[in-house]
Symmetry: D2
Subunit: 348 residues, 4 copies
């Protein structure tokens, strides 16, 4: 089969690889129908994720059709259409039992990371019964690709951890795909105001279409002052950090009001300053989270019932064999006005 293979920093190629086979009785082999590229894949490409080694097939998102199942798999059979979760869950370990699939002792984020991934014609999914989700006939499968990673990430790490409630004020720092995923899933709880903060005017314009009530270009405007004005000097109830650098985390601390929450989604590479000299008395909550995908069934219901329009995040389409081109587009997201790209397997 063909797959997108990593060969060290900045080196990827679409090349021939052996088709995966069942290794454990709990495995399933999936023929990929559609996949996508994640910001994390770009981190890998830069060499920032050293666990990813030469020869690894990338990708941890996608939908497909069951090709073969191990002998213990009971919930899926050949021909079933399935959603692949970016997080593999054994469902047996203490973390899985607590709903923290991200820290599964036998899984977690392994696809396109510690084992071969989904940017390929076929992929092997361990613990298939608890890491795949059935797709009902007639569903918009492209919309569901957004449920592999980006929607649960924005929702669990940003919205749920940020405890967004009806009537609340929310600020989201960063309006890339993850920030926008937080924006559209925050609306499941009907906050009264959602303020998007980003230096890119195009993305802010997209934010308004996707339901933001206010935008701030923090390259041109003083975000702290403007948020104070919007919130009658109180600060926001929830700030969602969707960038992952010290400057944006710093900003979040200036925006949150007493009793508020800072929900971190960003993947940070550096220690940040925490201003406990002022925040110690402000009754705030700061959370971090690697997505657990424990809300995938809930989110799937909202997408299938058309209450959540996840297709809004998709800007570009490619055929799967054209994936090198898709990576180029996604890497130049600003220039291309790209959010999420969909790669379709012409053979599926």
């Amino acid at each position: 089969m063909k797959a997108l293979v990593y060969h060290g920093p900045q080196k990827i190629s679409w090349e021939e690889k052996p088709k995966p086979t069942i290794q454990q009785t709990t495995d399933a082999i999936i023929r990929i129908s559609k996949t996508t590229i994640c910001g994390t894949d770009l981190h890998i490409l830069k060499g920032d994720v050293p666990e990813v080694t030469d020869g690894r097939i990338l990708g941890h998102e996608g939908v497909g059709i069951v090709e073969e199942t191990g002998s213990s798999v009971t919930r899926f059979k050949k021909g079933d259409h399935v959603l692949i979760s970016c997080i593999t869950s054994c469902a047996k370990c203490d973390y899985c039992k607590r709903g923290m699939y991200s820290h599964c002792e036998n899984g977690g984020w392994i696809l396109g990371h510690l084992i071969d991934g989904t940017q390929a014609e076929y992929t092997r999914i361990p613990f298939a019964d608890t890491s795949l989700y059935p797709i009902p006939e007639g569903s918009d499968e492209e919309a569901l690709v957004m449920l592999s990673d980006i929607l649960p990430t924005g929702f669990e790490c940003g919205v749920l951890n940020g405890q967004v409630k009806p009537g609340d004020t929310v600020a989201i720092v960063g309006s890339g795909p993850i920030g926008l995923a937080a924006l559209i899933t925050a609306q499941l709880y009907t906050p009264s105001k959602i303020i998007m903060i980003d230096p890119d005017d195009n993305r802010l314009a997209v934010s308004m279409k996707l339901g933001a009530t206010h935008t701030i270009n923090n390259k041109k405007e003083n975000a702290i002052e403007k948020v104070k004005e919007i919130t009658w000097k109180k600060g926001v109830d929830t700030v969602i950090e969707a960038v992952g650098i010290p400057e944006t985390f710093e900003l979040c601390q200036s925006l949150v009001g007493p009793g508020g929450r800072i929900a971190n989604i960003g993947v940070h590479g550096k220690t940040v300053d925490l201003h406990l000299e002022t925040l110690w008395s402000q009754n705030i909550t700061i959370t971090t989270r690697l997505v657990d995908t424990v809300t995938t069934p809930m989110l799937m219901k909202t997408v299938l019932s058309k209450k959540l329009n996840s297709s809004q995040l998709i800007t570009h389409h490619f055929e799967l064999p054209d994936i090198i081109h898709a990576y180029d587009t996604f890497q130049h997201a600003d220039r291309e006005k790209a959010l999420k790209v969909i790669l379709t397997n012409p053979a599926a």
Copy 2:
């Protein structure tokens, strides 16, 4: 001043009464701008609420303008526009501190019940600082009248107690004003399906306009069978009882799925059967509640930010002196296709 006065079962008149005066330092006198009629007022009219005695001015809903304040009132001053809560809260007793204003030892539901109410040109509001809410300039005050009682009732007793969550399935038994208030506030949490059940086709049609995904006329259709079909035999996550008779509570028990909730809003006059012989093992939760109006600030934010359109519940308008006519319309709600009526004080 003029007021709507109760003189025993079936006897009300619009007549002259002394203008109310400050009795406690915590009182405020409010000039009524707009008020409405509640289903509870009809119960009173039937003689079902014996605590209401001859001479009582009815009404527990409305918006108005502060006319005078007692010496301890600090949050309001003459000329302020205010929303009147149907529940008076002293903010000092154990129940108020727990957020159970409905059981306030010094207040609770007293307006138009144990003391004179709001269907008048003026009304006295005890514990004004914690029983009135400021209305920002330029607000749609008519829409806010719905916040005195019906919206918090549908929301707190039905939606919050029913723990409605994104993606859930909800059934609401009864699509009168209270059922519809539950319907529109349930959508603050984005359930995937909301099934309205009622014998009146007009109200079911209104339900569809207000966001229901399914309707069942339970005079013509088998509600149990149809709900099973809609929920793939699982039953619903939340059933909201918005009628108040044994038959509807019985129906709720047949609709709820394992792990689900039955949230009672209806005012019941009779003991009902509880089928513990089957439900004991079904992991269900049944709740009752007299509205606390503890969510009024939250709901006001959703209305003022146009996330919740409470005006949809208003079907008829009258001048306040024409209130006897308004009662007649509201009493024949089916014939008149009436939901909530608005009474405007021409002198305010």
Copy 3:
């Protein structure tokens, strides 16, 4: 091997049966070390549980040693000491993912019910990885037998559903083994008062030793009046129903205060009256639950760290082959002052 076999109402015998064998790759065979008898076993014996058919080995509690495992079992191996949960969980179905193992589509309560159980020298446990719990070396295994069923039942259905909090007042109606399990696990949350209500003076005396602060013999005293007195007329925060008949559920409704909870544990055979004509406005919550055993890991930590003394529930010891005698003792619990009996396999 030998086992306790059901042959229809009132007929059980300790007799030879084939040793169980692995049927699914997820099974384990356990050599029973210690088991016990449950009130539910007595219901079966009376013929009240028609799904239990002639030839069935009874019992759903116990600890033992792993004898053999199916090929997919990864968390246990021959020789491991394990606790058997009364609830079998597949960990894959929607109910298991929601933590409602009681309604597992592939398991639930099946041991000694729909498949052979634990009152035997050996037993087969389906979905072993997620239905057994490892016992650390050196543990008091007898104390852990209480974790198969009775402690999680009292805790989940009574204490957790009843939302017991520090400082609360709790009434427990029924001081049999289940009521006492609720009593000792309620103390994990340090309520200020726990009132035990039962017609048996011996059990009330036991309750005082196990931490009750007040007892009421409701055959001799007016429980409603006495609870009013103890709670300054407010009623209790939580009432736990641990009997399962209409009279006791009726009593619970008279004891609960505004804002309180009625947590039902009892297995009911009849419809009960629910007094919505008074309770509709009392902001109460009623819950039902078949134990999920989702808190078994938490409870095991409290028992192993000596914070919870589950041995207090054990009154009698027998050798496993003497089980008919043990049933007789347990059936005459009043006469024998019996709570839980421990049956030890001399061959283990």
Copy 4:
């Protein structure tokens, strides 16, 4: 009357001051029976709290007897025994309605800070109805002094924010009075292990008497290694920071396990490092809080019912006029092995 008056850094004296009088209708004048000294008073004495100006009477804790009440006070009358909360709550503002009395727009921490305090023969308490708590006749009033500040602080900021649950592992960094208050109130939720970490062997010995299961002297031992050992390398569920310096907050980040909580109590004067480069993916929660004293009624029930022994924190007793001596003892807590001191007004 006599009072302890602040005259700038390091200068306090027990001197004559005018007896306070009613200024607002919501005030009460309290004759102090017993008061105590807080670590915060020592911060003031060092000049670290610039809002405290020359001439201020210090102290924000105590019990006393109502001497006089303003005309709007309805819950208390002359002669009533009352507990004074360190936090004054108006009960009307948005923060009070949300239970965040610490940020009350008209109160908060003002006693002995922005207005005269409780280390005096008499004190004026604003918003008396919602800032005082009635003491039942016959109570141990000395034990209740601990409820003015230290117990709710340890409980709300440490235990509640740290979400301590039965069976959990808890580490408390700092075993001064606040750390010990967290230690004794954590036991209301029955964690399986409580590890106290402090450089003072005497305080660690006290911790063991007060219910710690493990102690670590972090001057002599490697706390990180030892906690790993105690928790089988998992880290603890909850870490409570009860010191307030960068080093201890740093330590907390090394002790918390995936999914765990860091609950900050310490008053910090400096920015700290937050290791988001590792913690971003660890699903942790960090909280800060100025005590709200919203749990005072709950804690009072546990103390009055003898479920919580707050007297254990008291080591020294003085007469109120001997308060300068008491300050000296409390300032040399290590040398004196002092925790909380009780000052008794001989005239009360």
